[in-house]
Symmetry: C2
Subunit: 84 residues, 2 copies
């Protein structure tokens, strides 16, 4: 079994408002950072797993994203696998 | 003014328990993904900003992370800047 680290990014879909991001964006003004145009806030997940092959590991992470980690109605996900 | 995209990762410190991650890790078993060893859950933030130079942009993002986005008692952050 090979060990892998999956780096998963889950972001709100571009078509949707991201109220948390908008709020942060406005708060930047109070920090005198006033050239910020947009902020979008999502999740970053590191998952450590073992699998017999890279293909198998990709299947597992994909399944985990679809079934548990991302809400596909509101979010999309992407991930990278690195051997460790 | 050059436009930049900052990709910011904010993660719970390694020394701390990550209860959300632990819960997800356990839930994986129910999805028949049983070779997951650890899951850590953080935030991923995309920030679009303009600045006169890369150094200036780095300062702005660093300031935003320290003052607003990350809680340095419990989290650490890293970011990458790309010109857009």
């Amino acid at each position: 079994m090979q060990k892998y680290k999956a780096s998963i990014k889950i972001m709100p879909l571009k078509e949707l408002l991201d109220p948390q991001g908008k709020t942060v964006s406005k708060s930047m003004k109070n920090l005198e950072i006033d050239t910020v145009e947009d902020v979008r806030i999502g999740k970053y997940i590191e998952m450590y797993l073992s699998a017999i092959s890279r293909v198998e590991a990709e299947k597992m992470v994909d399944r985990a994203c679809k079934k548990l980690l991302a809400n596909l109605i509101m979010e999309n996900y992407e991930f990278e696998l690195t051997e460790i």
